[in-house]
Symmetry: C2
Subunit: 266 residues, 2 copies
Amino acid sequence: MATGDNSSEKSLARAVSILDCFRPEQPEWGVSEIARHLHLSRSTAGRLLQSLQAQGVLGQNTATRRYIMGSKVLTWSSAYMSQLDVARAARAALVELHRVTCETASIYVREGTERICVERIESPESVRVVVRRGERMPLHAGSAGKALLAFAPEEIVRQVLSKPLERMTSRTIVVRKQLLKELEIIRNCGYAISHGERFEDALGLGAPIFDSTGRVVAALNVAGPITRFTDDQAARFTPILLQLAAQASQAMGYRGTYFQSILRSE
Amino acid sequence: MATGDNSSEKSLARAVSILDCFRPEQPEWGVSEIARHLHLSRSTAGRLLQSLQAQGVLGQNTATRRYIMGSKVLTWSSAYMSQLDVARAARAALVELHRVTCETASIYVREGTERICVERIESPESVRVVVRRGERMPLHAGSAGKALLAFAPEEIVRQVLSKPLERMTSRTIVVRKQLLKELEIIRNCGYAISHGERFEDALGLGAPIFDSTGRVVAALNVAGPITRFTDDQAARFTPILLQLAAQASQAMGYRGTYFQSILRSE
DNA sequence: TCTATTGTCCCACATCGTGGGACGAAGTAT
DNA sequence: ATACTTCGTCCCACGATGTGGGACAATAGA
């Protein structure tokens, strides 16, 4: 997956792997640095970087001559977002969830056996859960991940279980049987709760968003530090979360009665 | 600018122009469609699209075989954002501005003689100002644009004035002298106001954010439909906007007294 | 049903990308 | 200050790599 040499275009593949080097942890790269990192000659690395800059994909710190991401990728990502109508449909719910809870609220979609944060509003508090748009996380850890997994096709659950469940914190569920039981509970409750399974010391709530065909297309999530986001708070927010997930599902064209049956039984 | 054939890499340039086709207005493309649009042979277009998909840059609607943006661009854009520490420093201000006003709040940075929306929280209302991350707009129209321009280097002002000022709405300032006078006023007030200059029927407020060297690095903006966002409201929100711009500037390392002098004189 | 258009595959050709090496500039240690 | 390393860029000959035409089956539309 790291070196997908499946494609024929070599220079293109290299350009992509160059772009992949630019990450929040290290947003700036020099020519030789890239060359070393990707085992390229400096000529090649330099020329590719120049080309990418000429195309506006990369920018350059004129002082240090080091390269940084360019603003073009923002435009691309907005194209991605608009095609993902989940994000559009769920945005109102996201804003409302954030307004009510004042905690970090986010939306995840599943891609294969991972989930990706496609939108998020962070808590204004200085101690908060931080997630970045585009960040990938596992499905088995964290409320949003479990919510996605609980309603995913069986095939996906099988794939997730076929590999060892990576431990993210001391409370991550790593026992297969326990995870399956948890997914069952989630299907009954309509939401998932995570006590520090993904981030130590954080509590998270997650609920599925369905589309018109009844498939899960996303998970709505809110998470905060346990010092502030207590179980009492979580209990208060749960019906709101479900209400908003129902509303977002409706916006996606969902006409089923899953949420009604859950909310009635509460 | 459309066909930057400055770069040597041909396939790379083509790949980039393919990616540029994916826009919110048309997020899905077929092979032949792309080939026609960019005057490529179907073989070439198809192969490039396949490669881009293999790299994870594009996705594919398996039913229609048409291509869409892939989630990788989200990761790239988060690298761009993190390198832009403006966004980080100003996020708290953005959230607060949105919370207080319940209108669409956004952050713009200048790039050449344009501005780009790098972050935004949309109003939960159904009638609202809509801007997309990565969207480019002119500097002379709209509150955030004028705020950026008012504090930009003279060279930039000259460049903006050297071309005709494009009319975006009936109220856009298109007379050079009038724009210069407006910029003067903005420097005195510390903020810019736009009555439908960029979007017809919208009112916007914009304030500059400075960094440690005293240069403007961004503009903080809030905008809403005039039916709801009246002049009275604007007057109430102005000191808050200035306060938040001051706070964001401080987070960027600004130690000047510009905002104090403005806020004192109010 | 027939027809037009789609996406994919194959292949010969030459264009385009490649890496080695040389160069001056900038930074670092002595 | 000098010597040394490391930086980004440039040049160039070689050949790997990307190219477009055409054929193909599959699909969509009439």
